[in-house]
Symmetry: C2
Subunit: 194 residues, 2 copies
DNA sequence: AATAAAAGAATGAACGTTCATTTTTTAATA
DNA sequence: TATTAAAAAATGAACGTTCATTCTTTTATT
């Protein structure tokens, strides 16, 4: 495999096709041949870029996860006050999940199945550090509840995945108003209540 | 497949095996042959109880979902005051997700992938009605935020799935204290703040 | 001309499902 | 009750298909 000099676009096309097909049919029903076809490439070519199917999916996961967190923290600055910083990150995440809904769908599917290697999963978690730091600071200042980061994540961030999936399935349509309500729910679940 | 008179146990064994194998390997990596082996049955026998693999998974989903909601509402009475009723249902759900963690895992996987037919999914949602009624009542009384049921579910109930998965993966261990904290987060996210 | 990239066709393994047969259960008869 | 016939349930092996992956050949690049 090594590194191919050329054609990063071909790699991108393969990753894009993987996301789309896995979203719509699930891992079990997306053959390499279909991925190749959607990316306008021969099945054999996939193996110039990826070791095998598992590797293709793992790499897709890590790459999408990185994009996601890059977007989430792009405008955040570690010196911001807690609530302002949280709101900023939260809104960016919400924004990503609604705009890049294909990517977000894919992540949700990976995060809830044994589709992905544990190693790639760990790799994906790393990028979340700035949010954990913010929470640590918030706990110190008595603004954020002194509870486990997993609990904070479960209530502050994870619900967005559920909402995104519901929207993708056509069960709801989220407008700016809903997002504001969701933010209020998220914030009130983790802030210290006076 | 008509109804078989005998051997409801064989059907149950098949469903149990399906849950366990799909949890650990995902749909795509659980062949019928393995399901048969784990249920101590010939592969051919599966087809006496289920039309095909998809049908087996669909039926497993609907059955587990029914168990889940049956458990959730078992001790609930429609005349309870809002907060008390909500707490009761919430605790039962938490209880189920931690005790019947295999079942809950399976549901989470189904709810986040295209593994399940849309029809079976709809079938599974029906059973949630008592909770929606409670919320309607709560909104009327000004106790619960006047927001979409999907938002309420996303913040009050869905986080438990995330926590359960994290626990199953060994990332956390939830004790009674965590559960209490989680309940507080859930309630504060949906109650009207005075 | 030499090398790297891509292609299509080929391969072997694995899978879901069915088939032909056997085993077990039920019902009928004496 | 004992024996036998019929029906139901269960089985292991086999089938046809699909899939991931590899092999060989062609095309593009330097």
């Amino acid at each position: 495999m090594a590194k191919l000099q050329k054609s990063i676009e071909k790699r991108n096309a393969l990753i894009k096709a993987t996301i789309e097909l896995v979203n719509n049919n699930g891992f079990h029903a997306t053959p390499m041949s279909k991925i190749a076809k959607m990316a306008n490439v021969s099945p054999a070519t996939i193996y110039l870029y990826f070791e095998n199917k598992q590797d293709l999916v793992n790499q897709t996961y890590v790459e999408v996860k990185a994009e996601y967190t890059k977007y989430a923290f792009e405008t955040y600055d570690e010196n911001m006050p807690i609530e302002k910083g949280f709101k900023l990150i939260w809104k960016r995440i919400a924004d990503f999940k609604l705009k890049e809904c294909e990517s977000a769908m894919f992540l949700a599917q990976c995060d809830n199945t044994p589709m992905i290697d544990e190693i790639s999963r760990q790799e994906g978690i790393k990028h979340l550090q700035p949010l954990l730091n913010l929470w640590a600071r918030g706990k110190n200042e008595g603004i954020i509840k002194p509870i486990s980061d997993y609990l904070l994540y479960a209530y502050a961030i994870n619900p967005l995945s559920f909402l995104m999936i519901s929207q993708k399935r056509g069960a709801i349509t989220l407008d700016a108003n809903h997002i504001e309500e969701a933010y209020e729910a998220a914030w009130s679940s983790i802030k210290v209540c006076k």
